[in-house]
């Protein structure tokens, strides 16, 4: 299925784009993260296991067990630091 993946802050800078369309076989956000890591290069560096990465599905914070759906907007970003 096709999803939109967004990146913010340091993760966006490392990957070099803020948004991309991606065809995935992943059932969950955690599996999607693993697929992106498997691309290697900047994706692997930015999303590496052990790094603090937060996730959102359709603009709501969630965790890696959350199920993906066709056309979803997924975001990967570092812990937030507003306020």
């Amino acid at each position: 299925m096709r999803v939109t993946v967004k990146y913010f802050a340091g993760i966006r800078e490392t990957i070099g784009t803020g948004s991309e369309r991606y065809d995935t076989a992943a059932a969950t956000l955690g599996e999607l993260r693993d697929e992106l890591i498997a691309l290697g290069g900047d994706h692997a560096e930015a999303l590496a296991r052990g790094k603090a990465v937060r996730l959102a599905l359709n603009q709501t914070m969630c965790d890696e067990s959350t199920a993906l759906s066709e056309g979803a907007e997924v975001a990967f970003f570092p812990p937030v630091t507003g306020g």
């Binding site: 802050a9 603090a52 603009q59 709501t60 914070m61 812990p79 937030v80 630091t81 507003g82 306020g83």
Partner: protein
Amino acid sequence: MINVPRVSIQTADFDVAKEIAALRAQDPRVGAVCSFIGTVRDRTAGTPGAISSMELEHYPGMTEKSIESMIDAAHAKFDIFGTRVIHRVGLLAPLDQIVMVAVTSAHRGESFQACEFLMDYLKTQAPFWKKEQTPEGARWVDARVADDVALAKWGITACNG
């Protein structure tokens, strides 16, 4: 109460007095207004002048949605009347205002609590990121575990920091 938006994300500065006046205008139930203003510091580990500027990034769409839902939670939890949250994004300098949370209620207790609740929530759940410009170069600000602890006192578990 006149029709004021609850959430604004903007690059422009804001006038706290005007915002509070609009929030409580024509609402004679209000007996208490509590506000918090967050501002840009010029230091982190105590070195004055170490931070020359700060860039604030956010997630358009999710930012507004997440703060709207925090405000809904505050209204469900506390007996409050009006809420206004303004958060600036873009390039800011030391002394600049970053964020304002203002709440109205009949008595002070509820608006004090709701104001703190909203700030604790916002610090760990709203998608903003700060990048500081320092003499050593630019660096993304690290999340603080203390902010998760602050939210925990309201019975909400955060794992941001």
